[in-house]
Symmetry: C2
Subunit: 201 residues, 2 copies
């Protein structure tokens, strides 16, 4: 018998406990050693409770990361802020990202996910489909709005733009090649945007 | 008794065999499971031969990566090409990097190094000091020459510039978020340089 998720408060609390346990554990033991059994024990629920909601540890972990990304509405993600000023909005987004990556609660699970992706092409494809592509589309939507507002060159390649804006933060965090500060985030936005703005006529 | 490295041809062949074995093995088993003993066996030399030249597996591996980077002159690295045209030179460098990252011989050991760095702050510090910083300095030297030639803004932050130019390639390779092509390398250079060029007066 298939049981639909219980919308009660208790069910919601279990769900949150499972997602939190998955993030804690993946940071501690890595993706390979992460098990549904271990997550169930840490969350204080039965394995069947987890299997009722998630078919695999991969799907559970991705929901956990979506939660971490500030989204708990089953996969739908909020757009980037749009105050009408692209530079201000991007600086806000990148500085928030910097603050999250510097938060020890996020640091270990995010590192675990990123290194598993590097070695596991199937997980990388899942990551691309479930996390990178939807997030990238939201970023490109904000950049398209900036193009309509004349703040970004009409012919800018938006995939390259996303990579130039968001890639350096991720690299510096992963490789610890320099301090990951709000100032650095601001400089990345300023330099990248100078290259992306409409050329003077 | 301390024995200085033997400059004979046989010694040079052993050294190359050891470096090649280290790269092969780290790609196969990862940095954690990499052992001097395993490298010695694979290279057909005694463990003492390795310890005579390298104090640790870390120092051996970094020499192996420096070899991979096309440099076998004990740590000294060649500068970036300088034809006088920054865009042409950077496109050449980034397209060469793309070709190397797409080469299966480099792919696995480089992934192993990058993921170990992500989880091991001590190795990250060693990587920063022995590989990233010297390479970064060479890149910045080329950018400084471009500043003197009026091809780059005087006030460009050169660390941010290096990150914008080289980071996106590394990310796309590690995360497989899109095809790593020479065309992509060219677009990254063009977009980043538009942001870094001197502003029109």
């Amino acid at each position: 018998m298939k049981v639909a998720p219980d919308p009660s408060r208790r069910s919601h609390a279990s769900r949150r406990a499972i997602l939190a346990a998955a993030l804690d554990l993946v940071g501690e033991v890595g993706y390979t050693k992460l098990s549904i059994e271990g997550i169930a024990t840490a969350a204080g629920v039965g394995k069947q409770t987890i299997y009722r909601w998630w078919p695999s540890k991969g799907s559970l972990l991705f929901d956990a990361f979506l939660t971490l990304a500030g989204d708990e509405q089953d996969g739908a993600t909020a757009g980037l802020p749009d105050t009408g000023d692209l530079e201000t909005d991007l600086k806000l987004v990148l500085r928030t990202t910097v603050a999250e990556l510097n938060d020890p609660r996020y640091d270990l699970p995010m590192r675990a996910l990123h290194t598993e992706i590097v070695h596991d092409p199937a997980l990388a494809a899942d990551y691309a489909k479930r996390l990178d592509e939807p997030m990238r589309e939201l970023k490109k939507e904000r950049l398209r709005a900036a193009q309509r507002a004349g703040q970004l060159a009409e012919d800018a390649n938006l995939d390259v733009a996303v990579d130039l804006l968001f890639g350096p933060i991720l690299n510096r965090w992963l490789q610890r090649t320099g301090p990951l500060t709000p100032e650095y985030a601001g400089q990345v936005v300023e330099t990248a945007l100078r290259g992306l703005r409409p050329r003077e006529p």
